[in-house]
């Protein structure tokens, strides 16, 4: 039995490894496309970060004193230094000359023009205008970063001007009047207080982790199901099934060999997917930018070893149970195309349910949780959410149900293969063709 099983698994692996259609899904997307997208994204983010540091030209035409007072203010300059922006003051030039300089000089991010009536407006307590010109050489992230740079400079200018005005009114601590509140928001999660972590930031990070895990789980299930369905249906399509069934080897061994072969390739594929995806996700946040808060959040959301063991066992069981159902479905199909169509008809609603489950069903009070836990296709997603939450008991209990389901489905699949139905039943599903 073990030797024969090994032979079937070896043959399955060879067939899968040499099928370019299957390799495309397993290797090309996760290991090439995602990293390439990630590299492109990282390059763009670096450009974005680099573009934010730069030079801003200032043309001060103010006839009064407020313009130069605020522009030369030490705290304003300190703020600019923190932003990585250096002011270049233009003197003795007209507005049109300054604009030409902005267009021809690629190092300048923007031009800030303080008009002649700046001081006059302030003295009259009218809102003082400043003009900002940004020269875009290309569209995309560069435009966004230049806009962000000049936006920060203007905010800083406004803030400092406000402080100076309040100080002139006699306040000893102008910053207090301008901004009297300093909120410190903390999030409490599973008994741990994350000081300085806003709940929306925590929820955002948790959701992105939930999404990543759900995505990987679904990718694993889809990939494994496609492999098994293709393998089973191609036995019919390649006309090898009949001869295989007359060999002195049990039908359960043939099915188990196909399941194990598909699972090995799927686990490799899922690992590749995870690698590609993690690289892609990390492209958005350069490592040096990871804040203290983000580190605290990921420490809280990380899964301990026993959680991983439980999750891995649960995923493995769901995989076997799901694939046993796929064997039954694919056995009904006339050919590979019909099997894939049949699979997608059944899977699309189940996978949508699994995605919904990723965000709602981790709460045990939800009426969806238990039904989704005992369905093999949705179990991995809900289990992952529960394990992240540190709720292990429902996952362990659902494994008992999965074990029973697995045994039942494998028995059904083996019985189906042992009967003549496997040769007689034919389900042909093909898209209708235009005449």
């Amino acid at each position: 039995m073990a030797k024969e099983l090994l032979e079937v698994v070896k043959k399955e692996l060879k067939e899968i490894a040499r099928d370019p259609r299957l390799l495309l899904g397993v290797l090309l997307v996760p290991l090439i496309i995602l990293p390439v997208m990630g590299l492109a994204m990282r390059g763009a983010m670096e450009t974005f970060t680099a573009e934010r540091r730069g030079y801003v030209a200032v043309l001060c035409l103010d006839r009064g004193g407020w313009g130069s007072r605020v522009l030369e203010d030490a705290r304003f300059r300190e703020g600019l230094a923190e932003l990585g922006v250096e002011l270049i003051e233009l003197r003795g030039v007209t507005l049109s000359e300054a604009l030409s300089m902005l267009e021809s000089n690629t190092t300048l991010s923007a031009l800030l023009v303080v008009p002649e009536n700046f001081t006059e407006s302030i003295v009259n307590m009218d809102r003082a205008k400043v003009e900002v010109y940004v020269s875009l050489k290309s569209i995309g992230l560069a435009g966004m970063s230049k806009g962000a740079t000049i936006g920060s400079v203007v905010d800083l200018l406004k803030h400092r001007l406000s402080e100076l005005l309040v100080a002139d009114l006699g306040g000893s601590r102008p910053s207090f009047f301008v901004d009297p509140l300093e909120p410190i928001v903390s999030t409490i999660y599973r008994g741990r207080t994350l000081r300085g972590v806003r709940p929306e930031a925590f929820a955002g990070l948790a959701s992105s982790q939930a999404f990543t895990i759900s995505f990987v789980m679904l990718a694993l299930l889809v990939l494994a199901s496609q492999l098994v369905a293709t393998s089973i249906a191609s036995e019919r399509e390649q006309k090898t099934l009949e001869a295989l069934l007359t060999l002195p080897v049990s039908r359960a061994t043939i099915i188990a060999g196909k399941l194990v072969g598909a699972m090995i390739v799927s686990v490799i594929g899922a690992a590749g997917f995870m690698l590609g995806l993690s690289f892609y996700m990390s492209s958005f946040i350069p490592p040096e930018a990871a804040s203290e808060a983000a580190r605290a959040v990921s420490a809280v959301l990380s899964i301990p070893v026993e959680g991983y063991v439980l999750l891995a066992s649960s995923v493995l069981l769901s995989l076997v149970a799901s694939l046993s159902i796929v064997v039954l479905l694919a056995s009904l199909a006339e050919d590979v195309r019909s099997a894939q169509t049949l699979l997608s008809l059944v899977f699309i609603p189940l996978f949508l349910a699994a995605l919904v489950a990723a965000f709602t069903a981790a709460d045990l009070r939800s009426p969806l949780t238990w039904p989704l836990l005992i369905v093999p296709f949705t179990n991995p997603v809900v289990s992952a959410m529960l394990v992240i939450n540190g709720t292990y008991l429902p996952v362990a209990l659902s494994m008992v149900a999965l074990l029973v389901e697995t045994a039942a489905f494998i028995y059904l699949a083996a019985s189906f293969y042992s009967s003549e139905k496997v040769l007689v039943v034919r389900l042909k599903l093909r898209p209708r063709r235009e005449a």
Binding site: K11, T246, P248, S250, L423
Partner: protein, 244 residues
Amino acid sequence: MDAVDVRDLVKVFKRVVAVDHLSFNVKQGEVFGLIGPNGAGKTTTLRVLATLIRPSSGSVKVYGLDVVREAPAIRRIISYLPEEAGAYNNLTGLEFLRFMASLSGVEDVEGAVARAAELSGLGTRLRDKIKTYSKGMKRRLLVARALMSRPRLAILDEPTSGLDVVSAASVREVIRSYVESERAAVVVSSHNMLEVEYLCDRVVVMDKGRKLVEGSPKELKERFRASNLEEVFVAAVRGHGSHG
């Protein structure tokens, strides 16, 4: 003991009677032919012998073993070549033979593979993937696969189907020499009357699931006063009233 003993075999698919009270027996060392028009029930009969489908009624035994109750034991001594059999396209010929041999219950897998390699006559092409083979090469590979485990009963459905004249003659020689060297039994179905006359010691002509006539090609030719088996076949089927 007969290699095959079929008594009153009936096989019904829903309301269609595929085999209707068929009886025949095959002796060890004999090549037995099932001939008949399309839909005569030949493939269904072969599938019952190969333990793939169960009789609706009647008794079918292979070397005394019942096809329903003792199917696993029968699978150890038979080999079945379906009419439209294929092979795993992404494996090489050698890998395919090794895989099938390892599941065929033979002790010397490499010996069986070497025997099949010789029977197939494919030489170094066995190292190439099967998807690069022509139809004739694939069929020779499959016939070699069917005989490599030295089955006591080989069930061959249209063994030369789709082959050119030279390849078909080569396959027939392989089957004939196998029977002579191994003293095995072969049940073969074919539309090619020349092939049946060359290969078979005895034949059954079937139509609509029923046996029309049975005997050696020589006996049948004498009985129908025919110069070849094709004339016997046409006369038997027309006499049955369905192809008038």
